[in-house]
């Protein structure tokens, strides 16, 4: 909301700086980082005092149990550190418009079920967390309300119905039916929520990969919100979405601060509080800047993790039905555990997946020019 100060530039000219998205993005990243460094140690100490660790070993980790035994008292719910940092920074630096409101709404609406899930796990020692129907209800509510706002507001109602895909110079569907948008938006929000949730299995893995995705989405949001850049790159121009760059910058700052504490050996885990909401946020932002399919490339690590689980479960069920004995494609799913079981140390898996994530991010960025 500091952007309103630019209206008073005639009184004191340096205030005009608050008009620029680039300046406010830097401010947002630094502020989120600062809030994260301040709130992190306090929240972690509080989580420890409240004994917010899982306190149990997930039997699904099997032979990796020894590694997980060390982690069973590490507090979770660290997604709150990201939430506080990102929210505080965005409210301060982003100009309120329909795009930023919807992004913050989805992020908040998905933080709630994630937090409840973690709360049930760590306080009530309920290994299953919230019921699946409750999680689906929250995700559906977030999607429906977000779509409702986007279809109602004059700034977004026409633009949101366009469907763009990478490598095409124009929208492949100029005015898609609202129900198709609802289905796609729901798939993206739920899909990326669950994909980041699955990726969040090793110290720093999901956080590091989210930083690279946020970096690329931030660049794309800036391009989509700038008529000159959008026209030059032959991508969709969506007025007002430049403000999402500020949110992406705040996300980078918040994740960097969280990663400081989440790096191996982790002092805190983000838990579902962080993973569900982060997935929803990047999913809805990709839709608003007309880059939903590019997100599949940019978030390649998340997609890879989700597909590994789908393949593992599908293959197991199929072989069990045909032969009576279920076979596995991977030693363990999600795929980061497969490499751990092959003997790679945790930090090596994480660093190599970060390298992959950077590669996916650059590939996604390249699609901006290949049209």
């Amino acid at each position: 909301m500091l952007s309103y100060l630019a209206d008073y530039a005639h009184l004191w000219s340096p205030l005009r700086l608050f008009h620029y998205i680039t300046v406010r993005s830097v401010g947002a990243a630094v502020t989120a980082l600062f809030i994260g460094f301040l709130a992190g140690p306090w929240l972690i100490a509080r989580f420890r005092a409240l004994k917010f660790g899982h306190g149990y070993i997930d039997e699904r980790t099997g032979a990796l149990g020894a590694t997980y035994f060390d982690k069973k008292h590490t507090p979770t719910m660290g997604g709150l550190i990201i939430f506080i940092s990102l929210f505080g920074s965005v409210v301060l630096w982003a100009a309120p418009n329909v795009w930023t409101v919807v992004a913050l709404f989805v992020y908040t609406a998905l933080t709630v079920p994630g937090w409840r899930d973690d709360y049930l796990k760590v306080v009530h020692k309920n290994k299953d967390g919230i019921r699946s129907w409750e999680k689906i209800a929250w995700q559906s509510l977030a999607t429906v309300v977000a779509l409702g706002i986007l279809l109602w507001h004059p700034q977004s109602k026409a633009k949101i119905l366009e469907l763009w895909v990478p490598f095409f110079k124009e929208a492949v569907i100029a005015h898609m039916p609202w129900w198709l948008l609802l289905v796609l938006l729901y798939l993206w929000i739920v899909g990326f929520s669950n994909a980041i949730n699955l990726t969040d299995g090793l110290d720093g893995l999901a956080t590091g990969c989210t930083i690279t995705v946020a970096l690329v989405l931030g660049i794309m949001a800036y391009a989509a919100g700038n008529s000159i850049v959008a026209q030059y790159l032959l991508i969709s121009y969506v007025p007002g979405t430049g403000e999402l760059t500020v949110i992406c910058a705040a996300l980078i700052g918040a994740c960097m601060a969280f990663l400081w504490f989440n790096s191996h050996p982790a002092e805190v885990f983000m838990g579902d509080t962080g993973s569900l909401a982060l997935g929803g946020l990047i999913g809805v932002m990709a839709f608003m800047i007309h880059q939903p399919f590019t997100l599949v490339i940019v978030g390649g690590v998340f997609v890879m993790e989700a597909i590994s689980v789908i393949l593992q479960v599908g293959w197991f069920k199929w072989t069990k039905r045909r032969t009576g004995t279920g076979a596995r494609l991977f030693l363990m799913a999600p795929i980061h555990h497969h490499f751990q079981k092959r003997g790679w140390p945790e930090t090596k898996v994480v660093l190599r997946f970060w390298i992959l994530s950077l590669g996916f991010a650059l590939a996604g960025l390249a699609t901006l020019k290949l049209r």
Binding site: L50, G55, G65, F87, V98, T100, V101, L104, F105, T108
Partner: protein
């Protein structure tokens, strides 16, 4: 027979999570969020 690590007693969390400080923080957050939404939707 020694209990397996997964069956060992787990610490219980104190119930006092909703402290006055937490409630004030949530209140401030709710006001800011509402203000941001109203300004955003009216823009």
């Amino acid at each position: 027979m020694a209990p397996s690590p997964s069956e060992s007693p787990t610490p219980t969390a104190p119930a006092a999570f909703a402290t006055p400080g937490t409630l004030v923080a949530v209140g401030v957050w709710a006001c800011l969020f509402t203000l941001f939404i109203v300004l955003g939707l009216l823009s």
